[in-house]
């Protein structure tokens, strides 16, 4: 049954982060003949443009593998599409919206994330759109809950034996009764939230060493251009040539404190030597950067979880996209340092929960 009155199409949720803007678009597939006849050209154009392409401009990308079909939202059935582009292209996006005549359809567009504040003026000025802003944390949590419950294939998963390449398995995790849990959202920076129930949660910590740090450092250190490139480079490297291990310092395990020799004692510690700097590869450096940032996040997350008395920690955010290395590292670090008491969980839709939540918030509020 269609609820009425309904928010007019198109249905968008947008999450503008420090590095990436994330867009969730609901494509209605139950369009009646009557609707089809009255559907304005502009709406058709937008629908066709978004669903007919997988890449937009030079940098916009639709993550086809994440598409959720047969979704019922506000009585309508359709597909959810997940699209991302760099926040630095925000102005181009605004121009595109103008070119596609978006403002003729709606007087506002909803958004969350820091960019919802930062670009408010630009939306008003260039396309006369009011940005409807939603709370970032609300959106994130609501998005997680919606996608977890509505993804037909399993959304939540964990790694078994993350540290053993042969025996490592990705296994589904039943996230239906998750409370209390912690969310570690790794975007440019990192936010950590404790979630006690569906609507009781708070930001408890964070760190400035996040995805932006990885990409920024990799750009400076290796000259790479994109996150994908940096991850690809890292996957070919060996951080042992860059980091000093306990063994490098103590000649073996540090038994007094139960520290195995292979544990990293000093990230980038070898790089104080000129000879080692000259012999190391860019891939090694990229790998060390990735491992350093990853381990640090895992370490802070673990302590926060213990401080909060929480056992399940969900890692989300676009830093984890195409980044199994980090996920396995996190899984292993959490398991190892907590002696099995903490579980690292991951979600398939990594960075899109804020945008998803934003779309849900929009639909909840109804038309203006």
């Amino acid at each position: 049954m269609q609820s009425s009155p309904t928010e007019p199409f198109p249905w968008f949720g947008m999450d503008i982060g420090g590095t990436l803007a994330k867009l969730v678009y609901f494509e209605p597939l139950d369009i009646s003949t009557e609707e089809k006849e009255t559907e304005v050209d502009t709406l058709k154009t937008i629908r066709k443009y978004l669903t007919g392409n997988v890449a937009y401009g030079k940098t916009g990308i639709r993550d086809v593998h994440l598409e959720m079909t047969n979704q019922r939202l506000m009585g309508r059935t359709g597909s959810l599409h997940f699209i991302r582009f760099p926040t630095s292209e925000m102005m181009a996006f605004i121009e595109l919206a103008k070119a596609k005549n978006f403002p003729s359809l709606a007087s506002n567009i909803c958004a969350t994330g820091g960019g919802a504040y930062k670009f408010e003026q630009d939306f008003k000025l260039h396309v006369n759109l009011d940005l409807k802003k939603f709370d970032e944390l609300d959106c994130l949590i609501k998005g997680i809950h919606y996608i977890d419950r509505n993804n037909i294939s399993s959304e939540c998963y964990y790694f078994k034996n993350p540290n053993e390449p042969e025996a490592c398995e990705k296994l589904p995790f039943d996230f239906r009764d998750p409370y209390p849990y912690m969310v570690v959202n790794i975007g440019s920076g990192v936010s950590m939230l404790a979630v006690y129930s569906q609507d009781n949660y708070q930001r408890i910590s964070g760190t400035s060493l996040g995805g932006g740090t990885f990409l920024g450092l990799c750009t400076l250190l290796t000259g790479c251009d994109t996150f994908e490139e940096a991850i690809e480079l890292a996957s070919q490297g060996d951080s042992k040539n860059v980091d000093k291990s306990v063994k490098d310092i103590y000649g073996g395990d540090y038994n007094k404190f139960d520290l195995p020799g292979k544990v990293v004692a000093s990230s980038f510690g070898h790089m104080i030597s000129k000879e080692k700097r000259e012999s190391v590869s860019k891939a090694d450096i990229a790998k060390a950067t990735l491992v350093t940032i990853t381990n640090n996040i895992a370490s802070i997350a673990r302590m926060c979880a213990v401080n909060q008395g929480i056992e399940r920690v969900v890692f989300v955010g676009n830093f984890l996209r195409v980044n199994t290395i980090s996920m396995k590292h996190i899984a292993h670090a959490m398991d190892y340092w907590s002696t099995g008491n903490l579980k690292a969980l991951f979600l398939e839709h990594e960075g899109y929960f804020g945008a998803m939540g934003c779309l849900l918030e929009l639909l909840k509020t109804g038309p203006p």
């Binding site: 400035s208 740090t213 450092l217 860059v242 990230s267 370490s299």
Partner: protein
Amino acid sequence: MTDSSYSKSIEIPNDLVFKNLKSAKRFAIDIGGSLCKLAYYSTVKKKRSLVSDEDLVEDKPGSHIYKVSETDEIGYKLHFVKFETKYIEACLDFIQQDVIGGCHFPNKVIKATGGGAYKYKDLITQKLGVEVDKEDEMECLIKGCNFLLNNIPDEAFMFQRHEMPEYRFEPVDPNVFPYLLVNIGSGVSILKVESESKYERIGGTSMGGGTFWGLGSLLTQAKGFDHLLHLAEKGDHRNIDMLVKDIYGGAYSALGLPSDLIASSFGRAARSAGGTEDVSHKPEDIAKSLLLGISNDIGQIAYLNAKLHGLKKIYFGGYFIRGHPMTMHTITFAINYWSKGDIHALFLRHEGYLGAIGAFLKGTEEADSEKYSWRWSDMDVTGWKENLYSSSGLPSPRAFENPLPRDRSSTFDMFELDRYEKPQVHFPLLLDPASYFPDTEDLTQDHLAMEYWLNCFQDAIDGFVQRAISSQPNTKDAVERAHKFKANYIQKLNELRENPISHGSLTVRSLLDTREQCMEEFNFSDPFSEQKQKENEHALKQLKEYLDTLDKMDLDNRNLSLIEGLLAGNVFDWGAKEIADIMATGNFGFEQAKKKLQVRPWLFDDYDAWAERLKGPPHKCAIIFCDNSGMDIILGVVPFARQLLMNGTKVLLCANSRPALNDVTHSELIILMKKVAEISSVIAGALQDQKLQVLASGQGSPCLDLRCIDHDLAETLKQNETDLVVIEGMGRAVHTNLHSAFSCDSIKIAVLKNRWLAARLGGEMFSIMFKYERSKKVQVST
């Protein structure tokens, strides 16, 4: 070894660095990646003034009551020298010239710790002919930290950039445990220390000094760690980091994130974030971003560990800190931010020496042949005193902003300690030892006062030089040494002017102590000995008549006269320049002194309360900290003590263990009291029955630091249930202890003999301070 980074040629100023090597024993070494710390202990032969009443021809007119002479004594010193590891070979060569034979290395071993202990093992064995015995690094750090916290006042401080004071030194807490020690070397180890023997590594992070250095070296052309710090000092991280305002356009108030907070370190360095054009980033900005990112992270992780274990004291050490203001500020900020101001980051003045101290102590613990009758680092026992004169002190914060080309003296950093003759403890009658500070004023917080006192000490120096020379008339090199003393003391004053916090709070006490230590360094053991002798004899001659006068008075008048006598006696002070000038004329007696005193009501006048108290039951036992020789002790203190004895109060007369100015020393006081006993039967009887005891304070200063008094004195105090503390004189009751609170009644009494200070306190020259304070102990009502 073919390490090209060795520097073989370095000039070692042998009068300043590696002192007393010929008598050095028991070496230990802490070899870090960039800095090397050598520790050893030495015996030094030094002059000590000796007073003796043996073999004196009695009652011959003009004969002395005691003989003054000098004797040699052995002093014990701990030396720590810090230098860059690249000079290690040159330094080992230098040491090798002086240390020949087995006596320097018991069992032919040297204790070693630190990451480089393994790397340089063969070099050490080859150069010094000893085996290297490696000690666990963390254990050494903890031992070193415990030692410093127990022994060195003003060791720990909070750093509050742009605040007043910028360096806030912590009191010496008799209970140092439990605490968290965050050691930032190449990586970071977080240690929870619960007692001397109980500690564990509860966490750490691989992002530490090695990360800053290593990543910094990849990202910039900086030549080494210090260069990176220097770059960071000039950089602006906002060109590299993504701030909250870069993402939100302003603050994110709902989450309490200020707009300048770093949201993503290096977040602006990615191309996609900065647009497509290739921006070149300044090395200064990169270095700063890196320093902030790592410091913040360490602060956060330290906080999380402290919270997990319910600890409030977090000390930071390791080469990453190195007294660098920006690093300390960032860590402080992070701890403050995450703990919402509940926990403060603490830093150590001698953090670089923790490992070397610990390794050295390990060596002494294993050796039972050494003549240490008491443990070195017992929980509440202090055994060593920082030599303010010979130690380099904390580098000036400005040194990081403008690194000067290195000169000889900055190549080496020295930390020297003198052993107390006996163990020292907190004064047991302090109300709250954990919050006690001896000093009334920290000059670093008052530039006018600092200027005044530094000039005051500088102006007085020629008088000291003259007195020093005339105290050793038969010694050939006295003049030369006295002038060396002058030059070096002036240099020290200038260093303090440049960097007042180098040895902790700058106080009148620290300036006085530095001068005493400098005098001792140049072998002037007791320049005032003959002056004191003369004045003691002179005063003794007047005692009988004075006591008779007092005894004729009624009790009320006598009690007031006794206090006035204490005050008049206290006028005779060679440490106060204006008084010294008057006394130098020779025509200044007890009666003249009385006339100088302010008439009642005094500047601080609790006399009526004291007189009232005297009508009540007598105190059980009084301790009197004596000040000057001569009139002060004989005509001031003795009659006052005698009256207390007659009232039924036991009296503990307490004098300096070592000479300072014209203050009466313990050994002088013993002889003086024998002479007094010949004059006063009350004194004679009390000495006989131990109702009157003469004790040594453990100190050798014109001031009184109640954090380190003689252990035996503390025991005697407790045994006698002491319930009255009398502190006399400017040094002990005004410059220090003016605000000290005791758990029993106390009297603080002094004549203000410095015009400037008197004016500051709202009085004038010869204004009088008589503070009588009842016990501050809160009686718990049932």
